[in-house]
């Protein structure tokens, strides 16, 4: 088991630039800037972005109060706030309605409130407002305060999408082509973004009220694609959506909401959904599809998570000891799942294999309790709960975003990077801490899905900057590879189409 104590001490003074020769180098060394890759690293400040100050339903308080008839008010209350609103309106205007109606509605209202508070005591997250819920279950650390709301790399090209505080989404490409800005009426409180695999254009956006699928033509030069390019997928009772996951084949999209006990499996093009309901847990907060497509993790707000098997869609329940599952990531072959729980400072590992029929218990692979490193300008404490986990596509580096203590001065959030080794036994080895510029804390991170020289970690910082930290290493899997199999394939084919594989060999 690896702990933070064996890590090399973080360099607080300067930004971490890249890893080379098993060493994380920072900007202290002059002349190393040339190594940075040519990916765009935009910066967004909070001042330039204006968020929605108030939700739409409360805008009526701006206007002068006007007494409508009881019918009008009841209809309006029914439209705005449903049954609750209607009952509330009737109870409040007791002098206009018959006495028995007012008393009855007051009783029903009390009963409903009692029932919902009972339900809420079972599942405390149900008492949150939808914005608070998104902030609670988002993978972005300190979601409500951040200028950046979400981030997603395209799985096949050098292209990423960033959701901002003002509910717009910007798409950056590696070359200096125009950056499209996506805005939609329904696009509120974006919690997650994901590009569709095996597709050049489709981007799924988890919003407060619905799911948006943008089709952004990569060849188009337009900077403001119209909202006609977006598909709106919604299902009653299925909002806010806090997590989405495309199947690796790109055919299905799964969405989850903390208030809905069923997760939706969407056939996006046909706009049809199959609800998969399991009572217990009170909702689904986080989804993660294994890279080989065979399993899907679904975390719930209570101390329980499920691992779905995606062939017949059955699930196994995994009750946790303490808190709910906060974040998780799969190894590239889909055989190993790393998890972090709320309230615990460890990383668990579950190893799946088809032979043994699944794991029996999770094992602790890393201890992330607070460790203090002495530094030139005071001590620095790192460690804490895990906010998010990310594993690079080669399975060699694991980045862990550790929550800091906002009260304490010298306890910031940091990203700890581990080296991972899967044979002979699964093991985490220390690599180092990724630090930002002075005063900036990491909020979110994601590995580039196909970086050629190793791994590339993209970090969103609290000062609204997005930076890329490359890890240069030569992967063990690259040298051996599957070349013998390909040679075999090229040898045994008939001569007419023999050229298919020969290019690689020659």
């Amino acid at each position: 088991m690896c702990s933070l104590g064996v890590f090399p001490a973080p360099v607080t003074a300067a930004q971490t630039l890249f890893e080379r020769n098993n060493e994380l180098l920072s900007a202290l060394h002059p002349g190393e800037h040339s190594q940075a890759c040519d990916l765009p690293s935009p910066q967004f400040t909070r001042d330039t972005l204006k968020g929605h100050s108030r939700p739409e339903s409360s805008s009526r308080s701006v206007f002068l109060d006007q007494r409508d008839t009881l019918w009008m008010r009841s209809a309006g209350a029914w439209r705005d706030a449903g049954l609750y609103g209607l009952l509330d309106e009737i109870t409040n205007s007791a002098e206009e309605v018959p006495r028995f109606l007012a008393v009855g509605s007051a009783c029903v209202l009390a009963l409903l409130r009692w029932a919902s508070s009972f339900h809420g005591s079972l599942f405390p997250h149900l008492t949150l407002s939808s914005d608070e819920m998104v902030a609670e279950f988002s993978q972005m650390l300190d979601w409500s305060d951040s200028a950046l709301r979400s981030f997603a790399w395209h799985p096949h090209t050098d292209k990423f999408a960033v959701a901002l505080l003002d509910d717009s989404i910007k798409i950056y490409k590696s070359n200096s082509s125009p950056t499209p800005t996506l805005k939609h009426r329904c696009q509120r409180s974006v919690c997650a973004l994901q590009w569709k695999p095996l597709c050049g254009s489709a981007l799924a956006v988890a919003c407060q009220s619905c799911l948006l699928i943008w089709h952004v033509d990569p060849a188009s030069l337009s900077t403001r694609p119209s909202s006609g390019c977006a598909q709106v997928l919604s299902h009653p009772g299925h909002s806010p959506i806090t997590s989405i996951a495309w199947s690796p084949t790109g055919s299905l999209l799964v969405s989850a909401s903390p208030v809905d006990t069923s997760m939706m499996v969407w056939d996006v093009a046909a706009e049809s959904a199959v609800p998969l309901q399991r009572v217990g847990g009170g909702g689904v907060t986080y989804l993660s599809w294994s890279p080989d497509g065979s399993r899907l993790l679904a975390a719930t707000p209570s101390a329980l998570f499920r691992v779905w098997e995606t062939r017949m869609w059955t699930c196994e329940r995994w009750p946790c000891l303490k808190g709910s599952c906060q974040s998780a990531c799969w190894s590239p072959d889909g055989g190993c799942l790393l998890l972090s729980m709320q309230g615990e400072r460890v990383i668990y590992a579950l190893t799946f294999s088809d032979l043994t029929g699944g794991p029996k218990a999770a094992s602790v692979v890393a201890d992330l309790s607070e460790t203090t490193f002495p530094g030139p300008d005071g001590d620095l404490t790192v460690g804490g709960e895990v906010c998010s986990l990310s594993w690079d596509p080669r399975g060699e580096r694991l980045a862990v975003l550790l929550k800091g203590d906002s009260q304490a001065d010298n306890h910031p959030s940091v990203i700890a990077v581990f080296k991972t080794r899967s044979s002979p036994v699964f093991e985490l080895l220390p690599c180092g801490f990724v630090m930002g510029e002075a005063g900036a804390e990491p909020r979110f991170m994601q590995f580039h899905p196909h970086f050629q020289h190793g791994a590339l970690l993209t970090v969103c910082w609290s000062d609204g900057r997005i930076s890329h930290v490359p890890f240069y290493f030569s992967s063990a899997g690259l040298l051996g590879g599957d070349s013998p199999q390909q040679a075999l394939a090229s040898n045994t084919t008939n001569p007419s189409s023999n050229k298919l594989y020969t290019e690689q060999i020659s």
Partner: protein, 723 residues
């Protein structure tokens, strides 16, 4: 029996001898005793077995043609018992489950119908005694019969390819089609039966049709008509009809496949709330409509029944076709509760059938025994008779290509002596022929649109009078086998000569050979006409008209039919100039306007098969990159790629047509399945994903594949993720 024994011994004796003697022996016996001879013929030798089997197939095919759909033989032949037992057993299991679930729903119905808020104990005890009463058991038996009959009767109507009427007239034609009329009639009867059972179960004032009452003037006791009972019975008939009507309008019998696989029980559990909700809503709508109908026309059946059955009408009671009579809370409650029960049993039958039939079935890829060869995936894929087997096979192909390594290896394997990749060749050939057939269909449709400007002018421009008096002879064009390749010349999209050969042979009531799961050819082919409707008879080609019996044909009709439909603008002009179109004609003209999107929907009505073919093909090709040891896929890779690219071009061009890319409104909560409306988008997405799957797997190696430069350019776009 002695004779048989003797022959068996005799055969043992003469083991070494040639066939001729055996044959002679057999023939002599067959003259004597035809029944025994068959047994012996089986015993005697191979030479006769072939003849025997020929006999059998003839017998079967004869049954197929002759058996009407209410006979049991029809259902035997429905699925071609030999090779498709799977589907039969699934259908039987679904019906059995819907019967088994009936006691539960009936118990719930009894509980709800006797519900009283203020006497809960009395309510429970009443219900338990009622549940064990003989009348309830009897009505349960009747209900079981109803469910059985509807389940079996529905088998005739389930379809994998929805019928999409492309204009309002076509829709009207579908509703008025004799087949549909029979359906409505059966459902009206079944609805009345269910309502009779319900009224007996509810008891009280509803239980019988006649009740004793005192006549006002004389004071003697006579039998009067119980209007409450009649009201419920009529409501049952009305609900039966509306079920049948909505069934055709909303394509309730369209069986669609889910995007994910689930076990039957979780899926049933997941769908149950939806079914309950749908049946409640539908029942409330029907109750409202029926109450309105009864208010206006209720006196007609009432007087009729009372006069035919010599039942008096009790004048002391409030008549039900009045406002005060209808505003009876308990009556409306019982009406909607029994309506919910009625719809629920029917919807449950449909739901269970859908769940059972669409369950994935795993076909063996190859078999070591030759007699099982018919059941293997490549053979079933090439199936044309029963569409459902083809669909199941395609679904299995898509699943195995994604999930099962061992079965993929079987697909890529070589035949043992000979070393030919028969499995892969058969599968890829079948998939590609499906895809190229879709390409042809799209191109034909585009050509038709291009030559006419708009598709709808074809059907809209035919003389209205001739259309309204259209002949009944051509309505059976639908009973034609599938067309493998549609004709491509612009005018000839409508003149399907293959359709003509088979038309007018089958009477309206004779079911087509592969009816439950097959589609009429022309509907899919052309897309803008609903061939089942008599209103479209005139759009057919002239030689069909000549064959069909011209019962109502006027002279103008033959004239307009004789002219080629490719030049529609000229045809209607002379009659239009001569006579002013009447109001009715204009109304008809308007009704015959194309429904938007309908032609697109109809073109892609069976695209689920194409989606699976695309998924299966692309995943197999991608898997072949590392798993195909003998390189069997490489030989077909160029043709697969060009097939996909050509299809992509056709689909792209189709989406540039008007209305093709507009999304339909999503309907909430109805048993009718509307997934067919978005199949074209699903197909486009599946096609792009399939190409991406291949290009990302092969990467730069694709440059070495031998395909034309235009296709290579298109593929380059995919390699750069610019699509």
């Amino acid at each position: 029996m002695a004779n048989t024994d003797f022959h068996l011994q005799f055969q043992d004796f003469e083991d070494g001898q040639g066939f001729t003697e055996n044959n002679q022996d057999a023939t002599t016996v067959s003259i004597d005793d035809p029944i025994k001879s068959r047994k012996q013929r089986k015993a005697t030798g191979n030479a006769f077995e072939e003849e025997d089997s020929d006999d059998k197939t003839e017998l079967l095919s004869g049954q197929k043609k002759s058996a009407p759909f209410w006979t049991f033989e029809y259902y035997q032949t429905l699925f071609d018992v030999d090779s498709h037992q799977v589907v039969i057993w699934r259908a039987v299991a679904s019906i059995a489950w819907s019967v088994l679930l009936l006691p539960v729903t009936s118990a719930v119905f009894v509980l709800l119908s006797r519900f009283s808020l203020f006497h809960p104990i009395q309510w429970i005890s009443e219900c338990t005694s009622l549940l064990t009463a003989s009348s309830t058991i009897f009505s349960l038996v009747v209900l079981c019969g109803v469910v059985l009959i509807t389940g079996l009767f529905n088998l005739e109507f389930y379809t994998l390819v929805p019928s999409i009427p492309c204009s309002r007239m076509a829709l009207l034609g579908t509703v008025l089609h004799p087949r549909q009329c029979v359906h409505s009639l059966v459902y009206c009867t079944m609805g009345m039966l269910v309502m009779w059972c319900a009224s007996v179960t509810i008891g009280g004032r509803y239980s019988t049709l006649g009740i004793p009452c005192k006549q006002s003037e004389s004071g003697e006791v006579v039998t009067c008509l119980n209007e409450y009972h009649l009201f419920l019975l009529l409501a049952g008939a009305f609900m039966g009809y509306s079920h049948s009507f909505l069934g055709v309008v909303k394509n309730m019998y369209y069986v669609s496949f889910q995007p994910i696989q689930q076990y039957k029980y979780p899926r049933f559990k997941g769908c149950l709330p939806m079914v309950v909700k749908c049946s409640v809503i539908q029942s409330l709508y029907s109750a409202r409509n029926f109450a309105a109908l009864y208010f206006f026309f209720g006196y007609v059946p009432k007087t009729w029944i009372s006069s035919t059955l010599h039942l008096q009408i009790d004048s002391s009671l409030q008549p039900l076709d009045s406002l005060t009579g209808l505003l009876d809370f308990s009556l409306l409650y019982h009406l909607s509760i029994s309506g919910t029960f009625l719809y629920f049993t029917w919807y449950l039958t449909v739901l269970l059938f859908r769940i059972y039939v669409t369950e994935a079935y795993s076909f063996p890829v190859q078999s070591t025994f030759t007699e099982d060869a018919e059941q293997c995936l490549p053979k079933v894929l090439a199936e044309t008779n029963t569409l459902v087997m083809k669909f199941l096979a395609l679904q299995d192909l898509a699943l195995l290509s994604q999930h099962s390594l061992s079965r993929r290896l079987e697909v890529f394997s070589l035949s043992q002596p000979g070393g030919h990749p028969h499995n892969w060749n058969a599968i890829s050939r079948e998939c590609m022929s499906l895809l190229s057939e879709l390409t042809q269909r799209l191109l034909a449709h585009q050509d038709a649109v291009a030559s006419n400007g708009r598709v709808k002018s074809q059907s809209a421009s035919i003389d209205t009078r001739s259309a309204s008096s259209s002949s009944s002879g051509t309505e059976d064009v639908s009973e034609t086998p599938r067309l493998s390749v549609p004709l491509r010349t612009p005018g000839s999209v409508f003149t399907s000569s293959v359709g003509g050969m088979h038309s007018a042979l089958t009477a309206p009531f004779t079911p087509d050979v592969d009816s439950p799961f097959s589609s009429p050819a022309i509907r899919r082919l052309v897309g803008q006409q609903e061939p089942r409707s008599p209103w479209f008879g005139t759009v057919q080609s002239p030689h069909i008209m000549r064959r069909g019996p011209k019962l109502w044909s006027a002279s103008t009709e033959s004239q307009s039919n004789g002219s080629p439909p490719a030049s529609p603008a000229t045809v209607p002009s002379p009659p239009a100039a001569n006579q002013k179109p009447s109001f009715l004609a204009q109304w008809l003209q308007n009704r015959r306007e194309q429904l938007p999107e309908a032609s697109s929907q109809a073109l892609f009505a069976d695209s689920q098969a194409h989606i699976w073919a695309l998924q299966g093909l692309s995943h197999l090709v991608a898997a072949s990159f590392s798993e195909d040891q003998f390189g069997v896929v490489q030989t077909t890779l160029p043709s697969i790629l060009s097939c996909l690219v050509v299809l992509l071009e056709a689909v792209d061009r189709h989406f540039k047509l008007p209305h093709a890319s507009s999304k339909p409104v999503r309907t909430v909560c109805s048993m009718g399945d509307s997934t067919y409306k978005t199949l074209r988008f699903a197909l486009r997405a599946a096609l792009k994903t399939a190409i991406y799957k291949i290009t990302t797997t092969f990467g730069e190696h694709l440059n070495a594949v031998n395909i034309s430069t235009e296709h290579r350019k298109r593929l380059q776009q995919f390699l750069e993720f610019k699509e």
